[in-house]
Symmetry: C2
Subunit: 283 residues, 2 copies
């Protein structure tokens, strides 16, 4: 059993080898997929591993989840949305290329994700692969999912309750989906609910920590503009509720993530370690 970084070599080589044979969009796609923490696909593999699955066979399915994440960043950064110029310390896709290319590269990555998730996997019952497709689609979709969260975000929820709904939709649901997908692809559908809950709480905690770091951090640390949310649409929970309340919420959601696993028959140690690492991180 590995710490989440242990899955990075497989993920990086799999993502590098994704080849879409698109003369116009191949370059932008690779640009969009370079960099990032790989938290979501890492969580797919970690979850599959703790469920006893053969994670080495699941690189492309995990990469699918990273494609969904990369698409969401491209579209969120667009001028009509958050209008961001920097991402991972380099120009956002619409700044490096153009807006049409950014929209299409995002669309293509989202579509590619489902092609990858639906590739035949010898060790996984096809009905559980279908469950993984549904999980990702619902986690990324309208309503309580990622698209619904971005719409709420743009419509300007400015209090702590609104912030929480947005964080749950934009970060909690996708991380919950990643963890549940790992259970499905390990043929342990019975563990999907516990891992989904774990992932959702982890995602909310992650976003609280991000906001705390944004308020406290520096440009060099974060690879994006200092205190980027100031004066922009998106509120910061540490600014809304205060740093002390945000730190309390961080502890609470971290504890909920661990508690979600309490009655599950799996190796909890690496999942608990991931929570501790995310809470302790300094960038």
């Amino acid at each position: 059993m590995k710490a989440i970084e242990g899955y990075l070599p497989l993920l990086e080589s799999t993502i590098k080898d994704l080849d879409v044979a698109d003369e116009v969009l191949g370059g932008p796609m690779a640009y969009a997929l370079a960099g990032g923490k790989r938290l979501r696909p890492g969580l797919v593999l970690l979850s599959a591993d703790v469920c006893g699955g053969d994670w080495r066979q699941l690189g492309r399915a995990a990469a699918a989840v990273e494609c969904v994440h990369a698409y969401s960043l491209i579209h969120d950064d667009l001028p009509a949305m958050d209008d961001d110029d920097l991402r991972h310390g380099k120009p956002t896709l619409h700044r490096a290329f153009d807006e049409a290319t950014a929209i299409l590269t995002g669309d293509g990555l989202l579509t590619l994700a489902f092609a990858l998730l639906a590739e035949p996997l010898a060790a996984v019952p096809p009905e559980l692969q279908l469950a993984a497709v549904r999980e990702v689609a619902v986690g990324a979709g309208f309503g309580f999912g990622m698209v619904g969260g971005q719409a709420l975000d743009l419509s300007g929820a400015k209090d702590a309750a609104g912030w929480l709904r947005v964080a749950a939709a934009k970060t909690g649901y996708p991380l919950g989906a990643a963890a549940a997908v790992g259970a499905f692809l390990a043929a342990r559908a019975d563990l999907a609910q516990a891992l989904r809950s774990y992932g959702r709480e982890l995602g909310i905690a992650f976003q609280i920590k991000d906001d705390l770091l944004d308020v406290q951090g520096s440009e060099a640390d974060m690879g994006k503009r200092l205190n980027k949310d100031a004066g922009k649409r998106r509120p910061n929970i540490a600014a809304i509720a205060g740093v002390a309340a945000a730190e309390a919420a961080l502890r609470d959601h971290s504890a909920q993530a661990v508690a979600a696993l309490a009655n599950s028959d799996l190796n909890r140690e690496p999942l608990e370690r991931l929570v501790v690492e995310l809470v302790a991180r300094t960038h």
Copy 2:
């Protein structure tokens, strides 16, 4: 066995009942899904029907294909892309709402499509549902699929060969995918290749006919601006190659659509009738 219009009542009621419980995007989604010929989902059901499948159980899977189509129209119409103001005789989504809403509604519809396609279907083996997911994802994706076609289109292919590549990617591949999905969901994977070829040729013929009507038609007939392609990026095959050559290509691709079915064990009559109707239409 019905003409393609025979599937409209099921499609319209299914699409009307799609409920995404999204307070911000529910309205725009319904706006985007209202209207249109329903050619793609109709082809899913017709294809399933000629393959002997129970098409009455496949309304939501067919609606998925319409969601993909609706998303593609929304994103293609955006200011950064084709910058269109009218669609189906009413304002495009970014004109009726705003650009961020249009991007997100498109993203949500694409995501919803895969959630619908992955819903359990009692009569369909799950590995064939996974094949349907792949078919739609590849048909809508990078490279030879719909996203790749839009990228090529924007990069400005101005000759007949370039036009054909774009038409094959933007219309041929999605219609081929719709027809193949019908075969998979009728549990007749053996017929998917013939129906895919049929759909691709039908789609190219459809696009040629559209261009001929655009050159010859009027605003009242088409519900969009007269000769909308004039002065815009997208070339019109009747303008590039001449009306006579475009009409010859229309006959050729129509004949190829019919020929693709020649050796298949299915009821070809309604599929052939659809080709004849598309070629003969006046709007």
